[in-house]
Symmetry: C2
Subunit: 360 residues, 2 copies
């Protein structure tokens, strides 16, 4: 079998060029005489790799020196606990804007450490929109406002940020980091699991404003303490070395492509190919209000669950795989992360048209 | 440059056969049409991989059904916190046998959650031995006894276990798991970072007796709760999918080799090649009391730090790399994990002999 177009929500597709390079270097990396997986994380070869990875991501996202960039483990799920443990320490309360499963999980964990105010929720319409900023019930004394910039499951995306004054915004960018331009300075903390736009699962990126370190209490478990990771350059213990190397290859690929400016153009083009077709189709319907449509996760349905199931099955036969929606959302979901080529999206839209004609 | 013999203490060498297989499958795995790194962890292809990985490890270590086998993240360092959080919950005290840096780190973390009794320490002679069991000051009311079966830095190894009655033994096996036969039933919990005998960094193995789950308190952060990981088959969140796949390849290699019985024979042979030479040499000296010598990490010195430095430099020129001792221990350390072939050890001993003749 040849390679398929993989619309998985995560772990998701990686660029073919990157996979080929990784395969060619797996047995022996450069002149090191060994695989990256076999390198001591303290070796000069590996220090060069992690340093380059950090430099490339700082350039790509224009991360100021006033922010730490950490390479951690445990995914967004561990961040849901680390964030309140480290930062909900002044007034012991936070605001969370609930836009679906990922913020709901954040609420569960944050409640173990303080008071959580749901500043707004879009649950009333199955998370098909982002709550209007003017109606947010924000607490001026909250230690932070937590939001999920792109909801992987429902396919929503913020189009800007609410005004929160001095209260820092903490953003879960697991499924949208590096997909469009963000101004890092607008955030107190950005976190992202790697397995969508960065590399293999098991690596977590945290970008945190240095002045927030003052909030970190004494006596946290060391591995859950942002300050300890920052002071040790993400080497308090052995980091996920191969995942960081894969991220380096991804960042290299992105920079060669022209950086986030170019990537965003391609992503907007890819997303519009599907959304434009959804809007003119008589059979398919997008799940999300137009202005909040995700660039990364396109959710849609046909006229019935039976037809949805047939769609997913037929698509698979055509080499378009992992198109089933999340079990809690149903329907279809096409995750079109950075690594999904335009041709993959074109093939999907072609298939959708064809399927509509045949099953109308 | 061709491949070197890599004596790194971790991340360490991986079997060439395994690396070649990984390289050949990296771009496309079997008939999946994608790389393992790109697979949804919920896909049937990936479920087959993680299931096979678990089955192979259960066979290799003869893990009874009364034990959970978990694939986690965060390394031994996170276990140092998770163990007391989950299990130091009855009498809120534990015993730790201090045999070097890794148990010292465990003490630091455990103290954040309860009372730690150092049942014995070998610090008086720079951790060159394992404390005698008959002199252990064990507390019969301790929630558990924590020990490090093989100390990577100093090169010591237990040769058996102390009698602890009903108090479960918790063993850090990061640098010795799968190197020799263990009776899992002797332990309440075994944990190991993968980056020595299992696979790439970023994967952590936890083997835990099911009845201990009763001790897990309510309201732990979900990612730090053994029960939640067990109930979700290590899929509470996205596991480190590629690391688990690499572990599968390692386990496959071990089973084809004849399992742990054969591996242990090879490891004893490899270790004796070096130790026998150390004992007859006039220049080198092993750091550890004979009966506690590690099979995995052989620590030794020449007659002076200057000569040690020359040894490390000259060895590197001969393709024998990462032989420097840990920064806190000095001298030399040859880590000869499962993946180190007998030829690598033979070459090292040959080099040692030659170096002795030239520098006597």
């Amino acid at each position: 079998m040849s390679r398929v177009y993989n619309f998985s929500a995560g772990p998701g597709a990686l660029p073919e060029m990157v996979l080929k390079k990784a395969a060619s270097e797996l047995f022996e990396y450069g002149n090191a005489g060994m695989s990256v997986m076999e390198m001591s994380h303290r070796s000069k070869e590996y220090i060069a790799i992690i340093t380059e990875t950090e430099e490339r991501l700082r350039r790509l996202m224009n991360i100021p020196d006033s922010y730490h960039l950490l390479f951690l483990q445990g995914g967004a799920s561990l961040q849901f606990a680390m964030i309140p443990m480290n930062l909900m320490t002044n007034n012991k309360k936070c605001d969370i804007i609930n836009t679906g499963a990922w913020t709901q999980k954040a609420v569960v964990e944050a409640k173990k450490f303080g008071k959580v105010n749901i500043a707004a929720s879009s649950e009333d319409r199955t998370f098909a929109y982002i709550p209007a900023f003017e109606r947010l019930a924000l607490d001026p004394d909250a230690d932070y406002v937590h939001l999920c910039y792109n909801n992987t499951i429902y396919g929503t995306k913020y189009t800007g940020l609410p005004g929160t004054g001095d209260v820092p915004i903490i953003a879960d960018m697991s499924s949208c980091i590096l997909s469009e331009q963000y101004n890092v300075k607008d955030y107190g903390l950005i976190f992202a699991g790697a397995q969508k736009n960065i590399g293999p699962a098991g690596l977590t990126i945290v970008i945190i404003r240095k002045d927030l370190m003052k909030r970190v209490p004494e006596n946290l478990p060391s591995m859950l303490d942002y300050r300890i990771h920052a002071e040790n350059g993400s080497m308090f213990n052995t980091p996920p070395t191969y995942g960081i190397y894969m991220a380096k290859l991804i960042f290299e690929w992105l920079e060669e492509l022209g950086g986030i400016v170019e990537m965003e153009k391609i992503n907007r083009h890819k997303a519009s190919l599907i959304y434009d077709f959804l809007d003119e189709s008589m059979m398919y319907r997008g799940n999300v209000d137009r202005e909040y449509r995700s660039l990364m996760n396109v959710t849609f349905t046909t006229s019935s669950p039976e037809l949805d199931a047939k769609f997913i099955k037929d698509a698979e036969k055509s080499g378009l795989v992992t198109l089933a929606g999340h079990k809690t959302a149903g329907g279809m979901r096409a995750s079109i992360y950075n690594a999904m080529p335009v041709e993959g999206v074109e093939k999907l839209v072609e298939f959708m048209k064809d399927f509509e004609v045949k099953n109308r």
